[in-house]
Each structure stands twice: as C-alpha cells, then as structure tokens.
C-alpha cells in the first residue's frame, strides 16, 4: 500500500500520517443520494394523478419502467464515483515528505510532493457549523517550492495535524542543518 500511495519511496521512509476527508463529508453525500433514491418511491406512494395517467398509456408505462431503471442505475453510479473520489483523495505525511494525492473526477489525478524541511508555514482552519461540531477543517501548508501551497481539505482534527506537521518540519530542518554542517 505504501508503494501504491507514495511514489518513489526512499530508503527508511515511513508514513507518519495518512489523511482522508472526514467521514461526515462522504456520509452527507450518501444522505443526499439516498434522498434522491427515495423520491420516486415517495411519488409512487403519493399516487399522483399524473403518474396514474402515464401508466395507463403503453408508451408511458414503458417509459416509466425504463426511466426508473436508468434513474436508479445512474444514482448508484454517481454515488460510487463520489465515494471513489473521496477514497482516492489522500494526504500523506512521511518522515521525509508531504504528499498531496488528489483525484479530480474520473480522468484527472494530481500528485504533488514536497520535502518537510521546505515547509515554511502551517495554518489550520475550522469554518462552519458542521466543521466545528465534527472537528474537521483545512490545513494550509506554505512551502518554498514550485507548488507553494499544499492544502489538506476537510481533514479531521486540523489543529493537531498542523501542530504535528510543523513539529516534523522543524525536526527535518534541524536534521538537514546538522547533516550539512557535518559535511563541512
């Protein structure tokens, strides 16, 4: 799993933190998809005259069956796409690097990495009612690299994650300083 998630694994590199979005995010999407799935059932039990009239007609009856089938198949497909999107968005902190692996839809995936010692600033942010209730938020990591800012989105316990990342960045800088001075 390490090799799959972390490209170009280095000697004695270990995963310290493997982060995904908070569980509330995916459950909220599941809830809304579930609601969309229940709607036809509600309409059926409400016995709306519109549907009764359509069902009497042979075209209407056929269309009703086919459209319901397509509706449920695609709701299920989109729910699964949302889940895969959630599952494949991963933020990894190893003892040497931070990695940002993001899936943007089905055919777009970005992997960014940066050395720990290049981290300059770490900020955590909790915004909104649900974020505060469930303790999830955003961690912004400012680096001295081509990708200047890494963003860990909707991760659980962002304050502690920010503290840990900052601590590891400091340790990495000290270690690098010691190694460079030893060479001199």
């Amino acid at each position: 799993m390490f090799n799959l998630l972390v490209p170009n694994k280095e000697h004695d590199e270990k995963i310290i933190m493997l982060l995904r979005r908070h569980w509330f995010i995916i459950w909220l999407k599941i809830f809304f998809f579930g609601l969309a799935g229940i709607l036809p059932v509600i309409f059926y039990f409400m016995e709306l005259p519109f549907f009764n009239n359509i069902n009497q007609n042979n075209i209407g009856h056929a269309l009703l069956i086919l459209s319901t089938s397509v509706y449920y198949l695609y709701i299920w497909l989109f729910l699964f796409v949302a889940f895969v999107d959630y599952y494949l968005d991963v933020w990894i902190v190893t003892n040497k690097r931070i990695l940002n692996v993001e899936q943007h839809g089905l055919f777009h995936r970005t992997v960014s990495e940066q050395r720990l010692y290049r981290i300059q600033d770490v900020t955590s942010e909790l915004k909104g009612i649900f974020s505060t209730m469930f303790n999830y938020g955003t961690v912004h990591i400012q680096t001295a690299g081509e990708k200047a800012r890494f963003v860990f989105k909707e991760v659980p316990d962002p304050h502690n994650i920010a503290k840990k990342v900052m601590m590891m960045a400091e340790q990495s800088k000290k270690f690098k300083w010691v190694m460079e001075n030893e060479k001199l």
Binding site: M1, L4, P49, F50, N53, I54, Q56, N57, N58, I59, G60, H61, A62, L63, I65, L66, T68, S69, V70, Y72, L73, Y74, W76, L77, F80, V81, F83, V84, Y87, L88, Q103, L106, F107, R109
Partner: protein
C-alpha cells in the same frame, strides 16, 4: 407504425454508457486504491447492487410487449 422497441434500444444505449463508466470507476479504484480487502469489498458491493438494480429492471422490462406499436392515449386531468 413505430414500436415500443425504439425506447428499449435507447435504454440499451444508456445501459451501455453505464457499463463503460462503471468499468472506469472500478479500474480507478483498483489501480489507485490497490488490490486490498477494502477496495475489493467496495468493488463487490458495487457489482452486487448494480446486478440487483438490473435484475429488478429486467424483471419489469420482460413484462412489457416491446413489439407493440406506440399508442398515445393520455387523459387530461
């Protein structure tokens, strides 16, 4: 006279698209999520529920006479 089968063929096209997208979703999950128990369980759940929806659908679809010509017989409320 146009038969109901034209609707059925349109449905089959949408079904084909569903299979294509399903293939890509499952491919992404296995390729980037790995062949681990979690990913395999999710693949199994997805296939199981898809098969369930399809079997319920085809159960209803098989009861329709698709060779019947289209007849518009709508009563205004």
């Amino acid at each position: 006279m146009v038969s109901l089968s034209i609707l059925y063929y349109a449905y089959l096209v949408l079904l084909f698209l569903f299979f294509i997208f399903s293939f890509f979703v499952l491919y992404h999950l296995i390729r980037f999520g790995g062949l681990y128990i979690g990913s395999l369980v999710m693949v199994a759940v997805y296939i199981f529920i898809s098969v369930m929806i399809l079997s319920i659908s085809f159960n209803s679809i098989s009861k329709v006479d698709w060779q019947e010509p289209m007849v518009i017989n709508y009563t205004l409320p």
